[in-house]
Amino acid sequence: MSDEAPCPVFDVRIADTGEVYQCPARETLLKAMARLGRKGIPSGCHGGGCGVCKVRVTGEVTTMAMSRSHVSETEERQGYVLACRCYPRGHLSVEVVGKLHKAVTRPRYGFV
């Protein structure tokens, strides 16, 4: 790391909880949160494939390929991204959208 150019670090605010963590520009929003042991955005495949880390972002980001099963082109234009495919380019606020599909109000049946 020491031979790399200094990397800007931005604040990411999780709107749902008000928690704030720091994310370097070269790290995805999800990776930085997980590395710091923080919670708030559901963490899954870290590859843009499963959709659990879906957030709506306010602020400037760049994104890598995200599975269209989880973020349509229209949604992408509205600021929906997968946090594991998304790098900060400024201070950000995110709203958690991706839910772990989980039964909370009815009896569980093994896995569902």
């Binding site: 899954g44 495949c45 590859g47 843009g48 093994g110």
Partner: protein, 317 residues
């Protein structure tokens, strides 16, 4: 007679270069071919047919299809009749429809997953040859996996509305393709809802597995390693390559396999699975796991299901 083993899986990837680094340098699969549409074909060093993995470029992660190899061409005629008699539509595809394969049968499991059966695929031989072979070849990369071992498919399960695609796909595999049920998870107030099953045609604990979830999907495809020490080395290889590991080396209670769950760069879950578990002979009694010990069935050491196990997976079609 009938189905022999898993033949190949066709996985969709969002970034082919990243996928190739993962499947070639981390898992250690060997590249067999590439076609004009950008699909890449790979196999393990211990396999003899040309490929067991097809990577297809796509903007959606997940599985296109899974294919099983039958013993002889005649089996395809017999199985076609049986599948149709069961009420499932079958399309017979000409040789070459599956690249480097003879004619094939194409149909959907009751869970909706697309499956092919074929009898012939181009033979290329093992990397160690068949004459006075060494136990492993030189130049293996990464984990050096032997072969594609099995896949776990997520099937829609919603007992309150009477939907159980685990049960339906399991019955199809047993009744029509003559798979043997080796292990099952039974849940619900009366312990009679099949929430997961493991089935085999070989004498390994499973060649396919089904687990109930909210929607159909690909849970993982697994690659074989010999033993624990190989699994631990594979975990080191993954860490060196910053692969996202879902579950660090651990044992499954079910199948007794030594495992790592991890994700390819498109978020498709992979597994390195070590050990042959036990010999699943045709007369072996079915092993049942109850709902209260489900966590230990899946992750034997911790005894706890992780949140991601049934919520994080990619598309199944």
């Amino acid at each position: 007679m009938g189905v022999m083993r898993i033949g190949h899986i066709n996985i969709r990837v969002l970034d082919m270069d990243a996928a190739l680094h993962h499947y070639e340098n981390v898992l250690g699969l060997l590249r067999a071919d590439q076609d004009g549409d950008g699909n890449v074909y790979l196999r393990g060093w211990d396999e003899w047919d040309k490929y067991s993995v097809i990577l297809s470029p796509s903007d959606r992660a997940g599985m296109n299809h899974i294919a099983y190899k039958v013993e002889s061409d005649d089996d395809l005629d017999v199985l076609r009749r049986r599948i149709e008699a069961y009420g499932i539509e079958v399309e017979e595809c000409p040789a070459g429809a599956l690249p480097d394969c003879g004619r094939s049968l194409r149909f959907h499991l009751p869970s909706g997953h697309l499956m092919y059966l074929y009898a012939e695929k181009t033979y290329v031989g093992k990397a160690v040859s068949t004459t006075n072979p060494d136990p492993w070849p030189d130049g293996l990369k990464g984990a050096g996996v032997h072969w594609l071992d099995h896949a776990l498919l997520m099937c829609e399960l919603d007992p309150e509305s009477g939907v159980n695609k685990v049960e339906e796909s399991t019955a199809f595999m047993q009744d029509v393709l003559d798979f043997k049920l080796t292990e099952q998870v039974l849940v619900g107030p009366d312990g009679d809802i099949k929430a997961a099953t493991w089935l085999a045609r070989t004498s390994t604990p499973h060649d396919i597995a089904f687990v109930g979830g909210p929607v159909k999907g690909l849970h993982h495809c697994a690659f074989f390693l010999d033993e624990w020490s190989d699994v631990l080395k594979a975990a080191d290889v993954m860490a060196k390559n910053k692969v996202k590991i879902d579950v660090t080396p651990q044992r499954h209670g079910i199948t007794r396999g030594a495992t790592i769950y991890f994700f390819d760069p498109s978020g498709n879950r992979n597994e390195t699975f070590a050990g042959l578990g036990y010999l699943a002979q045709p007369d072996m009694p079915v092993i049942t796991w109850t709902e209260d010990e489900l966590g230990r069935g899946i992750f034997y050491h911790t005894g706890e299901l992780n949140e991601a196990f049934t919520t994080v997976y990619t598309e199944g079609a």
